[in-house]
Symmetry: C2
Subunit: 501 residues, 2 copies
């Protein structure tokens, strides 16, 4: 093998080590770190980020990439892993060279403080605590965009980091196409008889719920010798290596069963990372290819599997045995309808499948507004509440259940949200293909078996890591690009049955 | 302030960030990391250690130090913090320059694997699992020594890293002076009537014991907004910043009250680090000046406070209320005698104060033997058991309770153990001085008050961080160098009373 390729891989290995070390520090920050650790953690994350950036954007890496691209000219990155690595790294390098290392440190410092402020603001439901931090985040985001050549829309620069190759206009087109169909469906549902779900909001024991979540994750195929689950105020999945991928969850007294779906969701993310080719570990090909593809995995396990009738045919008897008082007289069908109840509500992560995308569209509009300067941070709570009312007909009673509910902006991430809706769309596209390839899948799920589903996902999606770009991967696997048709078909079929439309 | 001083501080800040990040990764490795994470963790720790080493030993740092030493010529490092920082950093720099960065990476990789092997070996009580890893650690230790100029004894090089300025011969002299007095005391105790302690080994509830430990740590002054306690197979204290100092503990069914003293011990370490001057954070002056001084703090809180009669006059009623069945009919005095029972035993961390130093002397001999090649790793279990029998008259029933009990060698640390005995010695020296300065201390402890003790320790010891070398600090605070007289006086008085000698 080329000596230069080895040199490059060694440098990239160290860059990966620094980033993974940063991920460990980030995980600790959100799970166990005492309050006093915050300031130093900012310095530590700043230094790790800066050193990774300096190492990655060095002239040495630039020269190696140039030489290796010449060496690999004509080698197909679609088949050869090294060529794929060069393709992905070259793109990352071109982008990273534009961002000064000091800026990376500043982002880390600001977002560490912003995260702490957000935690406090959310707890006290007081936007004013978070506001100056978010203003700083927006200012940094605008400076970030200024490092790049002008795009069709300034938001394109942000989106491309999460969804390589995707434009703001592409996303808007997909959303514009889907919105009227989803709105029509919501109207039909609103006119139908509402399902009962009061029994979901009784008093459920946290430990039992946790144990049941863990059992589901285990059945899905989560390997506990290569991962673990902890508590965090906002559940997430994080990767320290292909053999150490962790999830977090939370228990909300006022919505106890949400824990189940949160764990399924994060398990879906974790299975994606754990299924990556072992040889990609400690290289830039490790991980998911984009946030939308990642979300397609988490939403598939949470919704297409975890909210399906077949799934609960298997698990409901066991669940009912665990909570006999709470579920007394509740039939399987009643339970199934309840966990799929459609009702406009405040919290995105607890939103049903039919309204979820509306939450995303709202956030996309606010992000675009912050980025292009047409909206001021100080006005966000009001704008948020107005649009919630306009789109979903509900007004959050306070900012904790409104503009303060998500951690993304606090973490410095603007440009992220639309990938959630794209993930829903892709999950349904993949699901149609999977069910063609595995005609007995429904029966298997009914038996609590997920092996062939996981195996399909591993071999078609997970194993590739970042080798293929999202649109190419979806095309390769399903035959068409990202398209909302399958998702609309899925929603329509499911809710027509549930609501008798 | 000097421009060069600022430059140096900025570089040292980043070095500190890298080391503290490594500490977070090490904490996770010993508390929460799933098994699968091990290999990648080795890479991550290796890269962090190497980058810290490269950054710290750069020519740039060398030049800055040279220039600044000239600039600070004549400034007293005993009073000026910057001059003290230059003194400490210059010494660290001279040492670190001798060790190649690749070697640092190798040590991290080897000790990560050795640590995993040790965990398994200890669990299965199978030395053969750990043996090849320990052989590698010894080989690396010998290579480490070879980077330094020949000393009076090769072990001097190791000792100096933990106890700056101390020689193997110094330690042996202190030990040789103390040994006969301690042996004489042990013989007297052996001839006396043994105290009862069976009630300590009943069935105690883990959660209650944990809660009581936490309450003691809180009373001692441990600030939970700047620290936390988790479980680890071998309890330790670790520092990520002056405002994030964490402890770990364990519950052993067969020795349930050990948890209390373990928590007191680690709290003692944590209070030292938390009491360092805030301005020293993210500089090389942050932390404890040596392991012996560190151990003087942990052993003081564990033994001179936590095993004192006055302490239990306050806490015993409460403890008895928590465990009424287990302590039924057990008087305060009986309980006090039981927790101070002298009996030769296998496990160092559970050893009583009168036998503890014998465990250390054994380890010092084995370490010296490994380092100078007079002992082979394969023979260690036998040598260990033979000497345990010779010194304490007991033979461990298996290697888990013998040579495999401590994690130090697995972590790559050889040269560490004698600092434990030195810590005992210093704790008693400080204690005599404290009781002169605070004549009412015993009464305060009897009321569960530790404020003036902590305040004394903070202002005389903690606040200085690494500013003074251990011998200088002890001299400055007590008027004399490290000397075992106070410790022998303390042991003799305490056990004469307990055993009626």
């Amino acid at each position: 093998m080329s000596e230069k390729l080895n040199q490059l891989k060694e440098i990239l290995g160290e860059v990966t080590d620094l980033r993974n070390a940063g991920a460990v520090l980030g995980w600790d920050q959100q799970t166990y770190m005492p309050q006093g650790g915050s300031e130093a953690r900012g310095h530590q994350l700043g230094t790790l980020g800066k050193l990774a950036q300096i190492k990655f954007t060095s002239d040495e890496v630039g020269q190696l990439l140039e030489d290796l691209r010449a060496e690999f000219a004509g080698v197909d990155p679609g088949t050869d892993d090294d060529a794929a690595m060069l393709r992905v790294v070259s793109r990352d390098f071109e982008k990273a060279r534009r961002v000064p290392p000091e800026f990376v440190v500043e982002v880390a410092m600001v977002s560490t403080r912003a995260f702490e402020a957000w935690m406090e603001a959310r707890q006290k439901s007081d936007f004013s605590i978070f506001r100056p931090h978010l203003e700083k985040v927006v200012e940094l985001t605008q400076r970030y965009i200024s490092f790049f050549p002008p795009a069709d829309h300034p938001y394109d620069t942000l989106l491309d980091d999460y969804e390589p190759g995707m434009k703001t206009a592409d996303v808007q087109a997909i959303f514009d196409n889907m919105r009227p169909k989803q709105v029509k469906l919501l109207k039909q549902i609103a006119a139908a008889k509402q399902v009962k779900d009061g029994f979901l909001y009784g008093k459920y024991n946290e430990k039992k719920m946790d144990a049941f979540s863990v059992e589901i994750a285990t059945k899905f195929g989560y390997d506990w010798t290569r991962g673990r689950q902890d508590r965090a105020p906002h559940p997430f999945c994080t990767t320290f290596s292909v053999n150490d991928v962790r999830i977090t969850t939370r228990f909300e007294k006022e919505n106890p069963t949400a824990m189940l779906f949160s764990t399924m969701h994060e398990t879906g993310h974790a299975l994606y990372e754990l299924g990556c080719k072992q040889e990609f570990d400690r290289t830039p090909l490790m991980g998911g290819t984009s946030l939308a593809i990642h979300e397609s995995q988490s939403r598939m396990w949470e919704n297409l599997v975890g909210r399906s009738f077949a799934f609960w045919e298997h698990f409901y008897p066991q669940f009912k045995k665990l909570f006999p008082a709470q579920l007394d007289g509740v039939s399987l069908r009643t339970f199934y309808k309840a966990i799929n109840k459609v009702e406009p509500s405040f919290i995105r992560v607890n939103a049903d499948e039919a309204t979820y995308n509306m939450h995303i569209m709202l956030r996309l509009e606010l992000e675009i507004g912050m980025v292009d300067g047409s909206m001021q941070v100080k006005d966000l709570p009001e704008i948020w509440n107005d649009r919630m009312n306009a789109y979903l007909g509900v007004t959050p009673p306070n900012d904790a259940q409104g503009v303060l509910q998500d951690m993304h902006w606090a973490g410095g991430s603007i440009g992220y949200f639309s990938t959630y809706a794209l993930g829903n769309i892709v999950s349904a596209q993949l699901w149609e293909k999977i069910n063609k390839d595995l005609p007995n899948l429904d029966d298997e799920i009914r038996k609590g078996k997920f092996d062939s589903l996981l195996e399909w996902l591993r071999s078609k999606v997970h194993v590739h890591g970042r080798k293929y770009d999202p649109q190419d991967l979806v095309k390769k696997v399903t035959g068409s690009k990202i398209d909302s048709a399958a998702y609309v078909r899925y929603l329509t079929k499911k809710y027509s049955e549930i609501y008798g439309l």
